[in-house]
Each structure stands twice: as structure tokens, then as C-alpha cells.
Symmetry: C2
Subunit: 390 residues, 2 copies
């Protein structure tokens, strides 16, 4: 991204506050709008949800958000009443730093759970972030870097539509890490939009992106997606333009998360078409995406049509075998209920040749469809998740 | 088991027909009653279901079952119309062998899917099984051995209640294997019982046993549980006695399947108590049992209360953090919403010291409860499921 990609009226900073053990690691991001922004958010549905989720959720939707602060290294989850006070204090400190109201700030945290926040380091960290706030691409990328935990790459995406700019950044390397890796994603724009429109657009965009990726189906205590529009461009895109821009940014970020799954060796796209409904298509795609047997087979470059069709079969969506055909990387392996006489060694060699795998499940039941992304199940997945960490 | 454990009026055989590549391996079992038996069955809910499942399901419940034939090495799944004809032919050949009607026989298959049955070897195999039918413990154990695929141990269980004998045998080593390992279980008794009672008893017994084990939540194309009562003892146990005997046999077999999970290093018992309802308790237990992150942590002897509580939280069952406490192998790690200050190294060492892990999730919401069993997620699990097989 370049400086001209950054939405107007937004400033960014990333600093080291001291939450992470690594003395070089950035761990606090601050994002500020120079005027009140409309905002909408989506949050984890896990019943065990972190204090910052509870605080931010209560402040959205809103027409007067001035910014948000994010720390990495401590999730502020399972921290009781003190956690709530700490999350509110982070908003207050950030708001005070730019001369705004506490309720105009949102907060997100990611990292280990069950440990109190080291609040003594927060005032200094936020203070330095306020000093460093800047409008350039490097500032935005530094903020994007400061929210990472087990991620191996910075994840950003930009779009410009009709003169309005959209910048998104995210963290998440699947559900991997010392405890659990939260998925955080933020999209800020200088478009003019009200919070009700943003909420509807965000919900559709998240369904087609972050809700369409899965490694093992585990939602974390801190998952958050925010969409903020400050109107600084003066441009009012149509509803369709807004949906397209936000949707594309979210898909970019969701795919980047799957590609950065620790231990993954494959990037798997699942296309279900011809299902009875979109809902059925999603149930089937998700069942395959989260199936350990399918994922282990893909790690082994095994064109195991049986496991894939069986994962569809036990998804709960009704169908008959003859309704289903399966195409793997362009090869028809299962044709309306019957396996084709394909060359297994050849198909396996084709899978082994690349990182991308495309599974197409073609039903003959209707117009329902869903695109979903996942990774494989590798030795490294087990190693990274079984490691005993203090 | 001893000869006196075998229910009256039942005979058993296990032979090699030739389905398996290993020239020494038994692969065909025959079980016959000397009189019509009442029968009930439960079958896979997978929409992709094998021909023998369709044939047997259509013949139950029944008051006139004379026996069943089981082959291992080929699942007769995804084999189209020919598969149906082959499954029916197996029943017909077995029935002819003992002079019974074709519809009085049931059939089960387990093994690779998508390949036609080698029917040319079936008449000889069934013929030799008929010759070998015997009423002794060794005959029953040989039949139990002939149904195995990736299993490493024969799985049997016996009970005697009020003079009636119950013999159960099963195969299944979790969802592991060249393609997918089916779970098959059979309970035969010489008690007097009608098929409606058997059906009700079987459903409750399966809920508390085979439906309470999971490795990754994948049901196979061939899963089958049969309960047959021939009344040869002349004993009519009470409903409670029948439930107790069948229930205990099914739990024995279900636990044996989990203990024989290929690649597993842990046997995990999950007790959820104090939930809003039994249904909620089951949803929570299943979510934990199938969570790859929890299972990888247990493989690593990591007392990871966060993953366990989070898996409960994303199960879909509603609760607040303060409603939940977690006890792992007797140690309270999470107390009504807050982690306890436990010694992580010590707890990890305790987990590492044994194979058994007991997770107790104690809610304060009601009387709902569920006991569930699972295994851990190990390197060997991935290796065994990723191997490219022909």
C-alpha cells in the first residue's frame, strides 16, 4: 500500500507498551479519526468472552466513534470485574490522549487469557502511541504489525471505490498459539455512511469472509471485527459500492489468515453449488472444512473422495448420494453417487505439486451455494498446539 | 469370557473369505440363532450410507431374525445398485446355509468404500462359516475377530442378569484407517424381549455409549448397532434389568473403541454436571471432545483450562462464565469464571504421569448431566490419517 491508499482523516500508531515478553515486539496499536465516525462491530459468540469485547459491544453501533486501541500479548479474558475496569481504562486513556470522550473509544485485546492486565505500563504506552499517530502508509502498517501474535505476516488490504478509500488490517493465524489465537479485523474508510448501513454491510461481508473460514471451528473469547466510516472524503458510495469494497477487503484479510495458519501446508477453497439453499451449502462446506479426516488426507495429498463426500453426508444437510458430484483440482472423482475410475497416483501427484486445493461439491438440488476456505491438518499443527507453554 | 457366558441358542463363526489383502486375516463373521429372534437396530445418519445399512435397516424391527453376516475389508459403500444386490445376496446365501428365509438375515460390511464386492468369494466363505458355527466362547471370539479392520484388539463384553446372558462385540478404532473406520457393534441375548422394547432399550443404551464417544465427530457410511434377543433362556428380565445389561455392554464396547483409537495416547472422560438440561450437557461435552485444540493440548500434557472452557463456550449452550468451574484429574483449575493460581508445571507432570484424564465441568444452572469419552490428538493420528494408501 502507498500513502495515497490511506483513508482521509485517519491516523495510526503502533508502539511497544510491554505486554509481550519479546523486548523488540510491538504490542499496542492506536487508530484515531479526526472527526466522529459511524461504527458497527461484530463480536465472538463464545459465551466465555473477554472484557474488551463486552466494553466495545456496548458502544456499537454508534455515530460518534473517535478511535480504538488494541493491545497484543494479553487478551484480558477471564479476568473478572478488574478486567472490565481495565478495558474501560484503556478507552479512557486513549480518549484523553486525543481530547475525546471515553465512550467514543473502543478497545480490543489479544494474547494469553486468564491473566490480569499489566495496567501500570498502559498510560506510557498509549501516551507514546498518541505522540506517534500519523496518516501515512507506514503508520497504518505499523499499527497492523502491533496487533499480531503468532502471525508470521502483516495482513492488510486496501480498496478505493468512487473516490472513497478503505483500509483493512487483521490478525489471526488460525486457532493456534500459546493459548488461543483471536481473530481481529478492522476496516476504516473515509466514505460517508450511517451506522445502520455499516452494520448491514458488515454482517454480509463477514458472512462471506471471516464466517467462511475455519480451521477447526473454535471461536475465541476475543474475536472482533470493526467497520468505521468517518466521511472525511465527502464521498457517499452507493450501498452496492460499499458492500463490494468492504466485502473484498474482508475476503482479502480472511484468506490471509488461512494462508498464515501455523502448520498449514495447503490452502483449500471449498465451493458448494447446486444445494437446496445457501444455508445448506454453508453447512456442508463447514462440515468439510472442519473435518480432521479430510484435512489429514489433504496434508497427505490423498485424493480421498470418500472422506470428503462422507463429511458432506454427515453435515446434517439432506441429500441423496446420486445428488452429489465431486471435482478436486479440476478432476471429477465422484460422479452423481459413484466414484470415477480415476488414477489415484496421478491425482495424488497433482495435489502434491502445489499448495492450492480446490474442492467443488456439485449438487443437483437447487441454487444454494457457498465458498469456504480452510487449511490442512499437519504434524506441525499438532506440534504447535501440543507444546507445553508457561 | 467363558463358554458359560455365551447366550443360549446362538452360534458363531469367523472365517477368511478373501476380502482382506492379508492372507492370514479373518474377514467374515456369521452369527446365527437356532430360533427366530426379536431384533432392533440403529444405523448411521450419514446421508451417504452403504448398501448393507439400507438392506438391514429395512428389515428391522423384526420378531423373526435368524442371524447376521458381517464382512470386513470392503464396506460395500458408494457401490450403486450392484451394491444393493450384493448385500441382499449375502443375506440370501447365509439364510440358505442354515435353511432360513432371506429376509430373516441382516448384513453389515466394513472396509474400503467405492469398490464393488468380490462376490465370487462369498459363497465359499459363507459356506465354510456355516460349517464352523459353534456355541462356545472361542467361536464367539473368532466372530468378534473377523469383523476387525484397523483395530488392534478384539472387543467383547458379557453380562448375566437374572439368568439371561448378554454377549456384545464391536469393531472400531475411531475414525482412523485407510479410508474410514466404521463402528459396528452387536449385542445378542437369550433373554425374552419384544422388538419394541429392544428398540427403546437400544436407543437409550446407544445414547449413553456409542453416541457418547467421539474422536472427531465424523459418522461413517456403515455405522451399525444391532440388538437381538432369541428368548432361548426362557427368562424375561424386567425393563430395568434389560436396560442395565445392554447399557453396560454398550459402554464397555464404546470405551474399548476409544481406548483402541489409533494414535491416541490418552483416554479422556468428560463429565458435565449442573447444566441447564441433559441436552445442553451433551452439547458441551461433545464440543470439548471434538475440539482439536483441546485434544492437542491434552496430547501435550498441557492443563489448558482456557481451551476447555472456551470449547464449552462456543458449543452453543448458553451460560455465563461465573456459572462454570473446571476440575482436571481432581485439581480445580477454573473456579466460577476465574482461573485458580495453580502450579502449571505440577499439573502438567500429573497429566504426563498417566493415560487417563478426567475433565469435570461443573455448572450451577440445573441438573443436566452427560458423561462422554474421547482421545487426544497426536502426531500418530495425523500420520495414520495422512498416509497415502492405494
Amino acid at each position: 500500500m502507498t500513502d495515497s491508499d490511506v483513508p482521509l482523516g485517519w491516523r495510526f500508531a503502533g508502539v511497544r507498551a510491554g505486554f509481550k515478553a519479546d523486548a523488540e515486539a510491538l504490542d499496542l496499536a492506536l487508530v484515531v479519526s479526526d472527526r466522529p465516525a459511524a461504527g458497527a462491530g461484530m463480536f465472538t459468540t463464545n459465551r466465555v468472552c473477554a472484557a474488551p469485547v463486552q466494553v466495545s459491544r456496548n458502544r456499537l453501533p454508534s455515530k460518534s466513534i473517535r478511535g480504538f486501541v488494541v493491545n497484543s500479548g494479553n487478551a484480558n479474558a477471564c479476568t473478572g470485574e478488574q478486567g472490565m475496569r481495565d478495558a474501560e481504562a484503556m478507552c479512557r486513556l486513549a480518549a484523553q490522549g486525543i481530547g475525546a470522550e471515553e465512550v467514543s473509544f473502543l478497545v480490543c485485546s489479544t494474547g494469553v487469557i486468564g491473566r490480569p492486565m499489566r495496567m501500570e505500563i498502559v498510560p506510557d504506552g498509549i501516551g507514546r502511541a498518541v505522540q506517534k499517530l500519523g496518516p501515512k502508509a507506514i503508520d497504518a502498517e505499523t499499527a497492523a504489525r502491533a496487533i499480531l501474535t503468532t502471525d508470521t505476516v502483516v495482513k492488510t488490504s486496501v480498496r478505493t471505490i468512487g473516490g472513497a478509500k478503505f483500509f483493512g488490517f487483521a490478525k489471526g493465524a488460525a486457532m493456534i498459539g500459546p493459548n488461543m489465537a483471536t481473530m481481529l479485523a478492522f476496516v476504516v474508510t473515509d466514505a460517508v455512511a450511517d451506522s445502520e448501513t455499516l452494520w448491514a454491510i458488515l454482517r454480509a461481508a463477514v458472512d462471506a469472509s471471516f464466517h467462511s473460514i475455519s480451521v477447526e471451528g473454535h471461536t475465541s473469547t476475543n474475536d472482533t471485527v470493526l467497520l468505521l466510516a468517518n466521511g472525511a472524503s465527502g464521498v457517499s458510495p452507493s450501498r452496492e459500492e460499499l458492500q463490494k469494497a468492504v466485502g473484498e477487503v474482508c475476503i482479502d484479510l480472511a484468506q490471509a489468515i488461512i494462508r498464515d495458519s501455523e502448520g498449514a501446508t495447503k490452502f483449500v477453497t471449498i465451493d458448494v453449488t447446486g444445494a437446496r439453499s445457501d444455508a445448506d451449502a454453508r453447512i456442508i462446506a463447514k462440515s468439510i472444512a472442519e473435518d480432521a479426516l479430510v484435512k489429514a488426507a489433504l496434508f497427505g495429498n490423498d485424493p480421498n473422495w470418500g472422506r470428503i463426500c462422507s463429511a458432506a453426508g454427515h453435515s446434517g444437510a439432506p441429500f441423496e448420494e446420486r445428488d452429489l458430484s465431486l471435482v478436486v483440482n479440476g478432476s471429477l472423482l465422484y460422479d452423481r453417487g459413484t466414484p470415477t475410475p480415476f488414477d489415484k497416483a496421478k491425482e495424488s501427484a497433482r495435489l502434491a505439486a502445489g499448495r492450492e486445493i480446490h474442492l467443488e461439491l456439485k449438487f443437483t438440488l437447487g441454487e444454494g451455494k457457498c465458498r469456504f476456505w480452510t487449511s490442512d491438518l499437519s504434524y506441525d499443527y499438532v506440534r504447535l498446539n501440543a507444546e507445553y507453554t508457561t
